[in-house]
Symmetry: C2
Subunit: 368 residues, 2 copies
């Protein structure tokens, strides 16, 4: 990914100044990708990008230095396995003017062993995360980011259809996930995750895809995503094997109405919590409120989950260009779960859905 | 993975007591897998396993609670997206007797936003990582762990051979990695990483596999790993396309001698740094010391990188049952890199190599 690091650093510093943040510390993460267009491989060796009021610096493990040097002109403070990172870190911190920082914003994904370098060096500093700086700046996507997200969404649609076409009673969740993975790979967008949750497993929103065999009458939650061009996809659709379980149709239509209520509520200027409330009201009014155990959605960009989060308490004001999921669900313990998820980009007149795939349940025929 | 959590908690508490640690805090990670046999999906929602002197508790996001309940009887302190984790965390901390903890050992992989809950609650506590507790306990592998690692190593051997067989001038690094990935998948051990670094890219130890096309005369570093049965593999071998580049043979044989020196040095009772020194001396004496830019190896178990680290400064005393890599390398900027990596388990009389694959360079023929 090629990015205009100089322009993005300027945007970041303007925001840091407005928020009273005098040091931003990033780990190899989507924030780093956004700012400099790449990240060194994340391992247990501390690697940090420090951004001070005027200067920036990379704390860089020696074995990544040669490779990373091709991607950025930011000064490196290199440390080797035999010496450790402390001296190089101290020098980097001093050279970005961070030695007396009063307010440090941490990349929220940073490993605590990396962060401890900063916590030890700046014991009295105020600590926060990047919600108000990088998180804020990254929420609104430009048309190039939109194009990459749209491309990924259409690949995910086709991977989902490959999954639908393969469903047979007797196959395992893992086998179905492997077929979806093969499709993602064939389109050059390696699969990043697949929650394939069949029958009662569907009642676990984060089910670990496993060895359960699909059986006639199963509802199947398929929540899948791949990644190419530096951006991800994320979509959830439902299938049933043969005849749907009792009560399925009614609950599917409640979840569908919740999606539509959220789509209708999502407009520039509206608070994220009002979108959550719109979806939740449909489900609560239908008597299933206690079975909708998560927020309505999450933002998506370089990172799979990022601001804006669509929760019951979020005061984030939605704006044009924001990209987020709408994914209400109802989970009936011991029976099945139903979740329908679309990624949308917010336009002036409302959300544009990236996927072209209907949210209807896919009915997999029983062969023979 | 089924584990005897009660026995492992007892082992952990004995070690905590010996080290003066009165609270261990784990994130979804290999440490959690080792202790309780599973981990909930890691996302941005704080999920912690707190272990106090007598009690333990899970801080658990609501949407993972139903699924996780099937895997453990440890008490859950559940929080939902609309309320946030603070109150549940405070209750969990109090109930493991952690409110006045004086020494907290953090899972070093924990996200700083999870860790901040503890840092805010225990501002005066001593902070350390798990090297002396979980890291220490997990270094020595039992025969069940050995069996899983051995199985993975042999799958990786076959994936490597599938890669060797596919090498052709004109294919890209990514295409070669995809063939290796297909092999891992076909054996039920999804690929976790593949550094395929061709020609001058080989000089970057952590090269991002990319679009460079293989050409005649390229040396190819292939560092690959998959995962099944809860354990990983990790192996590096070399290939050349047609005629090897000038000087290749000499440097390959230096790296091979460095591997052999490390294998010879690695005995129970020896310090990890002496194994690093043995490999490094061969390379330094041959005049390439400055081109060996990383440690000699890392431990491997549930985690791909874990103690013991085989570095120039490690005082860890090696013992029977420890599993670690030996992977010296020489990286000539602009030309090529050579790394040879084997995973070994330390036996009473020395290291047993898990792979059955020769460390000789694989010569890929030029077709036609």
């Amino acid at each position: 990914m090629t990015v205009d690091t100089k322009a993005r650093l300027a945007e970041l510093r303007e925001r840091m100044s407005a928020q009273g943040v005098d040091l931003v510390a990033l780990a190899p993460s989507p924030h780093m990708d956004w700012l400099v267009g790449f990240h060194p491989m994340l391992c247990e060796r501390p690697c940090l990008l420090l951004v001070g009021p005027e200067h920036e610096a990379f704390l860089m493990p020696a074995l990544n230095a040669e490779g990373a040097r091709e991607s950025t002109a930011i000064p490196f403070y290199v440390w080797s396995d035999d010496v450790g990172p402390r001296a190089a870190f101290a020098e980097a911190l001093a050279n970005v003017g961070g030695t007396a920082a009063r307010h440090v914003a941490f990349d929220e994904t940073m490993r605590i062993d990396f962060a401890m370098l900063l916590l030890d060096a700046l014991p009295g500093a105020k600590r926060s995360f990047t919600d108000d700086t990088l998180g804020y700046l990254r929420m609104r996507k430009d048309e190039r980011e939109y194009a990459a997200l749209k491309k990924n969404a259409l690949i995910a649609d086709r991977a989902m259809q490959a999954g639908f076409a393969a469903i047979r009673p007797g196959m395992t969740e893992s086998e179905l996930a492997a077929i979806i993975s093969d499709h993602f790979s064939a389109e050059g967008a390696p699969m990043q995750f697949a929650v394939v949750a069949t029958g009662p497993n569907g009642a676990f929103p984060h089910h670990h895809t496993g060895d359960r065999k699909l059986a006639e009458g199963d509802a199947v939650v398929m929540d899948i995503g791949g990644r190419t061009d530096g951006f991800p996809s994320d979509i959830t659709r439902m299938a049933v094997v043969g005849r749907a379980p009792e009560g399925y149709g009614e609950i599917h239509s409640i979840v569908e109405r919740a999606v539509q209520a959220a789509l209708k509520a999502a407009r520039p200027g509206v608070l994220a919590r009002d979108v959550d409330a719109a979806a939740r009201k449909v489900i609560t009014d239908a008597g299933y409120g206690e079975y909708f155990v998560h927020r309505t959605g999450h933002g998506m960009g370089i990172g799979g989950h990022e601001p804006p989060y669509i929760t019951a308490t979020s005061d984030t004001e939605l704006a044009e260009g924001m990209v987020f999921s709408i994914e209400p669900g109802i989970y009936i313990p011991g029976r099945f779960g139903i979740r329908l998820e679309d990624i949308v980009i917010l336009r002036a007149d409302g959300p544009e859905i990236l996927s072209g795939l209907s949210r209807d349940v896919y009915g997999a025929a029983i062969p023979g």
